[in-house]
C-alpha cells in the first residue's frame, strides 16, 4: 500500500524553537511538494523538488524556512525560529513528473499539524 508518510502528525512548540517536519515520498516518485494549509490561502505551495533538486521555493519565507531532500526517500521542512503565525497544517505530496509534465496526480500525506505558542 504505497503512501506518503509524514512525521510527526502533530507538533506543539514554543515560539523561537526549531521545528523539523519529515516526509517519505512514495517509492519511485521523483517529484516532492511541500504545501501549507491555511484558512485564508487554502493550499499554499512552499517548495517543490524534482529528482531531489529544488525547482521552486518562492512560496517559502527564506529567512526562517528551509527545505531539503537528503536522499530520494526523505524530504525535510525546517522552520527556525518558529513563530505563532507559522501555525498551520503542512502537507507533503509526491508524484511522477517528466519533461512533458506530471504523469500522475500528486499523492498527499496526512499532514503535520503545527502549533506554535
Amino acid at each position: 500500500d504505497a503512501r506518503v508518510t509524514q512525521t510527526p502528525r502533530h507538533k506543539v512548540t514554543e515560539m523561537g524553537q526549531e521545528v523539523t517536519m519529515r516526509c517519505q515520498p512514495i517509492l519511485g516518485h521523483n517529484t516532492v511538494f511541500w504545501y501549507r494549509q491555511t484558512m485564508m490561502q487554502g493550499l499554499e505551495l512552499l517548495a517543490y523538488f524534482r529528482n531531489r533538486a529544488p525547482l521552486d521555493d518562492s512560496g517559502m519565507p527564506k529567512d526562517r524556512f528551509s527545505a531539503e531532500m537528503p536522499d530520494a526517500t526523505l524530504a525535510t521542512l525546517k522552520i527556525q525560529p518558529s513563530e505563532p503565525r507559522d501555525s498551520a497544517v503542512y502537507f507533503c505530496a509526491s508524484g511522477l513528473g517528466a519533461p512533458t509534465g506530471l504523469h500522475t496526480e500528486a499523492f498527499f500525506g496526512q499532514g503535520t499539524r503545527l502549533t506554535v505558542v
Partner: protein, 115 residues
C-alpha cells in the same frame, strides 16, 4: 497573486441533488486541471482531472467541465451523497516550461450534503 480562485467558501446541497463547484484561473499557461477532495484530519485525495484539449471529463458521478475562453472550470456531482461532504480543492498546472508539474491550488470549497 491568487492564480486559482474558488470564490465560494461553502456550498450546501440536499442529498440526491446536483452539487456544482466552481473554479477560475488567471494563468493562461495552465493546461491541466485537477480536483481534490479533503476530509478532516486527512490529506487531499485526487478526484478527477482534465486536460486543456478537452472540455469535459466524466468519472461516475463526477464530471469536470472546462471553459478555456472564460478560464473557468466546474465540478458537477450527481447525485450528491452525504459521504461527499468534504473540502474540494481545484488545482492547475502548466505541463511545459521551467515550472512544469507545479500544482497551484485554490482556497477550497466546503461542500455539505444534507440527508
Amino acid at each position: 497573486d491568487q492564480q486559482v480562485k474558488q470564490n465560494s467558501p461553502s456550498l450546501s446541497v440536499q442529498e440526491g441533488r446536483i452539487s456544482i463547484l466552481n473554479c477560475d484561473y488567471t494563468n493562461s499557461m495552465f493546461d491541466y486541471f485537477l480536483w481534490y477532495k479533503k476530509y478532516p484530519a486527512e490529506g487531499p485525495t485526487f478526484l478527477i482531472s482534465i486536460s486543456s484539449i478537452k472540455d469535459k471529463n466524466e468519472d461516475g458521478r463526477f464530471t469536470v467541465f472546462l471553459n478555456k475562453s472564460a478560464k473557468h472550470l466546474s465540478l458537477h456531482i450527481v447525485p450528491s451523497q452525504p459521504g461527499d461532504s468534504a473540502v474540494y480543492f481545484c488545482a492547475a498546472t502548466a505541463r511545459g516550461g521551467t515550472s512544469y508539474g507545479k500544482l497551484t491550488f485554490g482556497q477550497g470549497t466546503i461542500l455539505t450534503v444534507h440527508p
